[in-house]
């Protein structure tokens, strides 16, 4: 169960964002916990392709009926691709937050930043502490 929720191959940011790092690029998204807390997404405000993202800072917005939430970049870099499919079908982020619900692909500017992110186990402990 937990493995489905927080896949082992990802790194996690405390604001409930994940990164799948592949070489000098990474794919970003929001975690199962985040989509569950927001409820079904109704709107996605995408970032611009080519925009610079900074670790810990917002780069996009998602909106459900009850809340708007900033999406925080786990790592710094430049956006090379935005998932257009979720603009029309934002609920994909809820049904498949780690797969088809990805948000952006980024060329990393500083791969050492990954060390300050949590692995799946650490993230699960972090979630448990949140209560």
């Amino acid at each position: 169960m937990a493995a489905e929720r927080n896949p082992g191959d990802l790194r996690y940011h405390p604001e409930h964002d994940w990164a799948r790092i592949e070489g000098d690029e990474a794919t970003f998204g929001i975690t199962w916990f985040a989509q569950d807390a927001l409820g079904e997404l109704v709107h996605f405000e995408p970032p611009e392709q080519g925009a610079t993202v900074t670790a810990g800072k917002p780069y996009a917005e998602v909106e459900s009926v009850k809340a708007v939430s900033d999406v925080i970049a786990p790592l710094s870099g430049e956006i090379v691709e935005v998932n257009r499919a979720i603009v029309d079908a934002p609920e994909t982020v809820n049904t498949d937050p780690y797969g088809d619900g990805w948000i952006a692909r980024v060329r990393l500017s500083d791969s050492s930043e990954a060390e300050s992110l949590m692995d799946a186990e650490a993230y699960e402990r972090y979630l448990a502490e949140q209560g």
């Binding site: 709107h43 909106e63 459900s64 009926v65 009850k66 809340a67 708007v68």
Partner: protein, 443 residues
């Protein structure tokens, strides 16, 4: 007179249930230093009858539109409010309800607002309207806020021929929004599109009024084009009563349409409450401040209405909200909806035509007595400026002695116009009243 049901017996039973001996114990948490230990220094309580007598006395000290023939406008107008409006507004289920947070119990209000939004979109030619703003001045500030966030620019342009109070409110809000306000002067009672174009460089929006404060018809499509050319959002501040005869802002290139709703269904009421309307093209829907009602269904497939896109609003987005507006002007907007529905498209056109015809007649009669119109070559709607030969405020005072209020003295808002009067002629005026106006103003 009080509205409490509470009796001694009630109080005793309730205190016992709570587990305290006296009412004072309920306030035990209040520190001594902040307790108010004397009776409030306010006049003694009045019974309903005494209240009525007192307020009737206060009301009798006011010279209202019924006590003289009024040609006073300048933003709020003596239009006819049909009896159905008052009847609908006195339905307790509308009057005493609050914001429809629980939609299942509030379909009356929600559907009314949906219908109001539709009516405003229709008259302004826009795609989306909110459920109302406070009045015709604050919706201009709202428009600036939308434009700032949509364009990223920090300057707004507004014409000098726009209502002075609208301009003043925009200037009051601007510093907090981080906006610079630039005014474009009028030329002979209207605005020059080239001047607007120049001023609108690097502006988030350009606001103009149609008809403008002088009652003059601006070259609105050209002003909108001039703003768009500078990549500023064109914003038209319009008179709802004119929209049966004048083109809708959405049909000549405006991004936003705003205005004061009072002319459509509200009594003058010494300045308020009324409603401001704000409508936009669909691309701005997520930036709209205030409530918006949307259509949906329940599980059984029944159509229903809910507050939607609420994430924009203060109670969810908090510091990122599109505005802080909570309580708005729903009941007055409902009056507007009833009014528009009572008139229908034919009636709205007829009101506009009647106002224009009577105003034109008034211009002719005044000119015939020898008075001059400062903007004689301009087409006007229901209001126009006339030069009265001496201080306009004195002219007003003298005319009132004859039971006529001849209009608004423009000198306090526009330099060099101390002898100019703004005369408003609504559908409530008659030829006979206009004749009397001409007699009274004749030099």
């Amino acid at each position: 007179m009080s509205y409490l049901a509470l009796t001694e017996a009630d109080r005793d039973a309730m205190l016992e249930a709570i587990g305290v001996e006296s009412l004072e114990e309920l306030f035990a948490d209040l520190p001594e230093g902040v307790r108010f230990d004397r009776p409030l220094d306010v006049p003694p309580a009045l019974t309903e009858q005494e209240l009525t007598a007192y307020f009737e006395q206060l009301a009798s000290q006011n010279e209202h539109n019924g006590s003289h023939v009024s040609f006073l406008g300048a933003g709020l107008y003596d239009h006819y409010v049909p009896a159905v409006v008052d009847a609908v507004l006195q339905r307790g289920e509308f009057l005493t309800a609050y914001t429809p947070y629980q939609p299942e119990l509030s379909q009356g209000v929600l559907q009314s607002i949906f219908e109001y939004q539709t009516a405003i979109c229709e008259v302004t030619g826009m795609d989306v309207s909110n459920a109302s703003g406070y009045d015709g001045t604050t919706v201009a500030a709202d428009a600036c806020y939308i434009a700032k966030h949509a364009t990223g620019r920090s300057k707004v342009v507004i014409t000098e021929a726009t209502n002075p109070q609208v301009r003043q409110v925009v200037k009051t809000y601007a510093p907090g929004f981080g906006l610079e306000v630039v005014e474009v002067p009028h030329r002979g009672g209207a605005t020059d599109p080239d001047e607007l174009r120049t001023a609108a460089e690097d502006a988030a929006c350009a606001i103009f009024q149609q008809p403008n404060f002088f009652g003059v018809l601006e070259p609105a499509p050209d002003l909108a084009a001039a703003a768009a050319d500078a990549e500023a959002l064109p914003v038209a501040h319009v008179d709802p009563i004119s929209l049966g005869v004048l083109e809708a802002p959405g049909h000549y290139g405006c991004a936003l349409a705003i205005g004061e709703g009072q002319s459509a269904g509200n009594h003058v009421s010494y300045g308020g409450p009324h409603y401001g309307f704000l409508a936009a093209r669909s691309e701005f829907i997520r930036r709209m401040p205030g409530r918006i009602v949307g259509e949906t269904t329940d599980a059984a497939g029944n159509r229903g209405y809910v507050l939607t896109l609420q994430t924009r609003e203060q109670h969810i987005r908090r510091e990122k909200a599109t505005s802080n507006i909570t309580t708005n002007q729903t009941l007055l907007a409902l009056a507007g909806l009833v009014y528009f529905s009572w008139l229908g498209p034919q009636g709205l056109r007829e009101v506009g035509e009647t106002c224009m015809a009577l105003a034109e007649y008034a211009k002719e009669r005044l000119v015939a007595t020898g008075l001059e119109l400062p903007f004689a070559d301009r087409t006007t709607f229901k209001e126009f400026a006339v030069r009265v030969g001496r201080n306009a405020r004195d002219v007003v005072r003298d005319a009132l002695a004859h039971g006529i209020h001849p209009g608004y003295a423009l000198g306090r808002d526009y330099p060099g116009m101390d002898d100019v009067l703004l005369v408003a002629v609504t559908e409530r005026r008659t030829k006979e009243e206009i004749e009397r106006l001409a007699e009274v103003l004749a030099p």
